[in-house]
């Protein structure tokens, strides 16, 4: 179990506030996602939890071990994968894995069952140097190295940044299987669409959690009315919609536009308004918000 209370962290002698009072807890075997843009404080938070940084104030306890006082113990029970690829590029896949296994006083054979699922995919290339691997394979190797000592808690800092959608999906499938083995997983991402893969999520912005709940809970707490608008000349329509007084926000979402509207506005009314501005073939439908809609709504407040 992870228990975090009132974490504060600042840099440059207090000039830059990275964390502004973060409190949350993660149950055993849970996948907890910290979601927010770069610079929101995700990495600072994870480094404190990995005992790599000292908080200015506040407490963080990992399975009963304080990250400041019992940092040695914490380092034995966590598996940490930093934001950028941090393995030895000039060592082979196998050498990297063996090295990290030895650091934790274990061996590949002893915990092979844990990483088998992931490692099998890169095993054909085990003699290849890590630097010559493709992005997806590097990520699998890094995860194998973080797992080789059978950690109780896995801390993954933006594992999917810069990774294509297909490899991202595969990665989350792997995390799902690890969760089944009872490992607590703390993961951060800037991709909002990954929220649904977590048991619970926290939306982070400027060093604060602006919401924390299950993905469904976050969506349910969306208080406004959300419509999707489709049609031609999307970019011009976006501007036109913003000019309408009953439209609170208007954002492009793939091939549609999501608008938050005031109570009482009728779809027909809006269609007429758009028709006047020569937008034809407009389709309007009420929709359920996505986590991304929620994040933007919370940001706007």
């Amino acid at each position: 179990m992870i228990e975090v209370k009132d974490l504060y962290k600042s840099y440059a002698k207090g000039k830059v506030n990275a964390l502004n009072g973060i409190t949350f807890s993660v149950e055993d075997g849970e996948v907890f996602g910290v979601i927010g843009p770069d610079g929101a404080g995700k990495s600072s938070l994870f480094r404190i939890l990995a005992s790599l940084l000292l908080p200015d104030s506040g407490v963080a306890v990992m399975n009963g071990h304080d990250v400041v006082k019992d940092y040695r113990k914490v380092r034995q029970i966590i598996g940490y994968m930093p934001g950028r690829f941090s393995l030895y590029q000039d060592l082979s896949v196998e050498e990297n894995l063996t090295f990290f296994a030895t650091l934790f006083n274990t061996s590949i054979e002893e915990n092979y069952h844990l990483i088998k699922d992931i490692y099998q995919q890169i095993e054909p290339f085990k003699k290849r140097r890590a630097g010559a691997l493709s992005g997806g394979m590097k990520q699998k190797l890094a995860l194998s190295c973080a797992l080789i000592h059978k950690p109780e808690i896995l801390i993954l800092d933006e594992p999917t940044t810069g990774v294509d959608p297909v490899s991202r999906k595969e990665f989350w499938d792997m995390l799902g299987r690890l969760k089944e083995q009872g490992i607590t997983i703390l993961v951060s991402t800037a991709y909002m669409d990954e929220a649904s893969r977590c048991d619970r999520i926290a939306l982070i912005r400027e060093g604060e959690f602006i919401a924390s709940d299950t993905p469904q809970g976050i969506i349910d707490s969306y208080s406004g009315i959300l419509w999707s608008v489709e049609g031609d000349r999307m970019s011009a329509m976006l501007t036109a919609l913003r000019d309408h007084s009953a439209v609170k926000t208007s954002f492009a979402f793939g091939d549609k536009i999501h608008i938050a509207v005031a109570d009482g506005l009728q779809a027909g009314e809006l269609k007429q308004y758009l028709a006047k501005k020569e937008f034809s073939d407009v389709r309007i439908a009420p929709i359920k918000p996505t986590v991304e809609d929620c994040f933007m709504a919370l940001t706007n407040e």
Binding site: V16, G36, P37, D38, G39, A40, F125, L133, S134, G135, G136, M137, E158, T161, G162, V163, D164, P165, V166, S167, R168, K169, A190, Y191, M192, R205, S235, L238, F251, A252, F253, G254, D255, E292, F295, M296, T299, N300
Partner: protein, 246 residues
């Protein structure tokens, strides 16, 4: 009659036995927003390097901004803009110093730079940040500024390599609105992204698989062809066929 600003035929790049880019043929029209998608390792970066004139193709031919990519690569560099997520601005220079530097690199006169800098800062609502060190700007602001700097010299084409990675959702959309504005001014935008919703914002999208372009059309047409609800699904169907290492 629209003009083609990128036109390549059978462009190929080999590294030893490995064919990173395998006979790609396509063209991009003036003012178009062209999405260049593909899985990691599909060959996007190598292809972009050839188009920008910093990597020599092993075979094939083509023109970018009207210049031959093999013989006139120096001229290409002068007529394009480039921005990536990894490098765009010097973190330890102030906002105006970055603008001044890149303006100078592209040969603009001091007077032009001064006038355009004022206009740019005004448009971005950045006047108060004129003297701020770039590293103190939030990421979203940085990327907006970087994009403005990349098109500061009014290039015919701007290449954007994952410009919105890690940027917050609202900023990401503001960024795309800037892309639209640039396209309206006639600047062609060539963009890579891992956000599939952003693929929808492009006029046309190409998807690379194992060094080849396996699909190229408008997002709506691609969705129809692949019988998919979203670009995300189109991408998945194509990338699943990939045989390369990943």
């Amino acid at each position: 009659m629209s003009t083609r600003v990128i036109e390549v035929t059978d462009l190929t790049k080999k590294f030893g036995n490995f064919t990173a880019v395998d006979h790609i043929t396509f063209d991009v029209e003036e003012g178009e927003i062209f999405g260049f998608l593909g899985a990691n390792g599909a060959g996007k970066t190598t292809a972009m390097q050839m188009l920008c004139g910093i990597s020599m193709p092993t075979a094939g031919a083509g023109t970018v901004a009207g210049y031959d990519i093999i013989r006139e690569n120096e001229l290409i560099k002068r007529n394009i803009g480039y921005m990536s997520q990894k490098f765009s601005l010097y973190e330890d220079l102030r906002v105006w110093e970055n603008i001044r530097l890149f303006g100078g690199i592209y040969g603009l006169t001091d007077k032009v730079i001064a006038t355009k800098t004022d206009a740019l800062l005004e448009r971005l609502n950045f006047r108060e940040e004129r003297n701020t060190m770039v590293k103190y700007l939030p990421l979203g602001w940085k990327q907006k500024l970087a994009f403005s700097v990349a098109i500061f010299h009014e290039p015919k084409i701007v290449f954007l390599d994952e410009p919105t990675g890690g940027v917050d959702p609202a900023m990401r959309r503001q960024f795309w609105e800037m892309i639209y504005e640039a396209a309206d001014q006639g600047i062609t935008v060539f963009v890579t992204t891992h956000y599939m919703d952003e693929a929808e914002y492009c006029n046309r999208v190409s998807i690379m698989v194992d060094g080849r372009i396996d699909a190229l059309d408008t997002p709506a047409e691609l969705r129809r062809q692949f019988n998919a609800d979203s670009m995300d699904e189109v991408f998945r169907q194509l990338a699943r066929k990939a045989k390369r290492g990943d």
